[in-house]
Subunit: 339 residues, 2 copies
DNA sequence: ATGAAAGCGCTAACAT
DNA sequence: ATGTTAGCGCTTTCAT
């Protein structure tokens, strides 16, 4: 809704004494424009303070120069760091970012995806989406550029950036085992997310590799949120034979578990050990500092943006998957179990 | 750039057996449509999976349902928390957010503002902008909805959300004085920002009120960034008679100062005290935890978004200013000066 | 209450 | 190399 009249290419055309299609060609970087004409047009545009109307450009078939970014929430630093990485990469390009926060509301992913495909943006970056609706198939069928960050689709036909979740979870569990723990609880993540599935798998594999049996009761369902993490921790703590260590599928859950443990009258790491996943800034706040599996969040965002930019520049690039490595960050929340 | 054909209001019109203007009226919530017609149209739209094309709507004179958010950077949690607040408020509305990061590049604010006024969004939220170009006047003249967050324009004719910077800075300085410090250094912020000016003023006023004389040499110029904060701290530390306490205009500078102080072989708070401003999450990370002035960042974002939403709903609301209070958060980075 | 017609600002054939 | 002609999908008069 431009309030007052902004100059259009018609105004420039009149000012420069050419047709408006010549103006359009000049402004959209078309090659075959006589140098003298180009200069006239540019001078006129400059004189009038011309600013292109993106909506009109896009409607007429041009690009919107916008990239849609779909995120579940802004309340987890894990997300904001990824966004930061995306933004740092887009800054180098001519694209701007349009942000959609789903708050994990049923159907919002599909709704936003549809709006984006329908002209709102030229491409879509999906951060840890649920993909419960079949909108991904539509994106693919329409050949609309998109990339998944920290999520994978079962069909394996999407360009995606992930970390080695299973290995990370394996190492976290292994670390606890090597410290001497035999009863290790796991606070699982949102089961619709591939990362949650792989982390559970890594946990199980480590137990198996070290000859420890897997007990269903030691797995408490979380959802990657504080509140669920808190409840899950309580559940584990109230077991007849509670675990001596807990591995939480993300830092948010781990920090909530920290609180539950404290309320339970137990001390970390003296009475119980705790490991998280992500390494968000808050992980190293407070006592004790959280031992966790670091994910290169900023880099994940950057890589995702880079992939989408490449796809935009060259529509025929094939589907790709990038897998980044995690790293065990040892801080103060783990110790050998009590004798 | 919708890749394949999405259904348009023409398709719906054909399906429902009405004219496309009737479809448009129905879909854009026009009142005078016969109930039976409305139902037919809605059914057809639903059947075809219709999704409105925002670009076309906006171009034809409707709203874009987008709010532009202009920020200097995403590298400072101070900003991401404000964005989070904005997003939480917009989530309740039908507006989405389009993010522009200037990275403090010369002229980008004006360029983005022009693009936004020219149809890219219905309103503009400016987070700590430089306002060095006269684009604010244009926004005002055009009666384009905008609000400033953590910045004020000299003419005082903009709706804005701020904190009581001067009072906050006063209290920080006062706290150091009451601890017994007499030589208090100040790491200033970006002088184009009102917050930087007010914080300096608060620092000076506290000195004056407590009978301490102001020394230009104890003020080191920063820019609210880590690198400038580091240099400024070094400068203060290298003085012949260095300060026994430093007040940094924001946490980012304070944390950089922490590093400079450590490299200088001094300990905090034993050898020198340090106070920051903002209370970003990182402020309470590491040793020692930073004593700082908390700003209600999330709330500032929410209030800014709320003001713009009100303005959008009612174009005739008058210019308003909201001033939020700061709070001194005492942690571990201050102590009385050495005897 | 609804249809017909115009036009928002621009890009992209199609001409020449 | 440049002008002419159609739209893109929608809102909004202006009719009826």
């Amino acid at each position: 809704m431009p309030v007052n009249k902004m100059p259009t290419i018609y105004d420039i055309a009149k000012e420069a004494g050419v047709s408006y299609s010549t103006v359009s060609r000049t402004l959209s970087g078309f090659e075959f424009v006589k140098e003298s004409t180009r200069e006239k047009v540019l001078a006129a545009a400059n004189k009038l303070g011309y600013v292109p109307n993106q909506q009109a450009r896009s409607l007429a078939g041009g690009p919107s120069n916008l990239i849609g970014v779909l995120v579940p929430t802004l309340a987890n630093d894990y997300i904001t760091q990824i966004i930061h990485g995306i933004d740092d990469e887009l800054t180098k390009s001519s694209y701007n970012l349009i942000l959609y926060t789903t708050n994990r509301h049923q159907g919002k992913e599909a709704t936003y995806a549809a709006a984006i495909m329908n002209g709102a943006a030229d491409a879509l970056l999906l951060v840890a989406p649920l993909i419960s609706d079949p909108y991904l198939d539509v994106l693919r069928e329409q050949n609309f550029p998109y990339v998944l960050i920290d999520q994978a689709d079962q069909s394996d036909q999407s360009t995606a950036v992930n970390t080695n979740n299973q290995k990370g979870a394996y190492e976290a569990t292994q670390y606890l085992i090597q410290l001497g723990h035999r009863r290790i609880g796991f606070i699982a993540g949102l089961p619709q997310l591939n990362s949650a599935i792989e982390r559970l798998a890594g946990y199980k594999k480590a137990l198996a590799d070290y000859g420890l049996s897997f007990h269903e009761t030691y797995v408490a369902q979380g959802r990657f949120t504080s509140s669920y993490g808190y409840t899950a921790a309580k559940q584990l703590l109230n077991l007849a034979t509670p675990p001596t260590a807990i591995f939480a599928a993300n830092d948010l859950s781990a920090m909530a578990a920290m609180e539950a443990i404290r309320e339970h009258g137990l001390r970390i790491p003296d009475d119980i050990s705790l490991v998280g996943f992500d390494d968000v800034p808050q992980a190293s706040i407070g006592y004790p500092k959280l031992t966790t599996i670091r994910q290169p969040l900023h880099q994940m965002g950057q890589d995702g943006a880079r992939l989408i930019l490449e796809r935009l520049a060259n529509p025929s690039v094939e589907v790709r998957r990038i897998t980044l490595e995690t790293e065990l960050i040892i801080r103060d929340s783990c110790a050998p179990p009590r004798a």
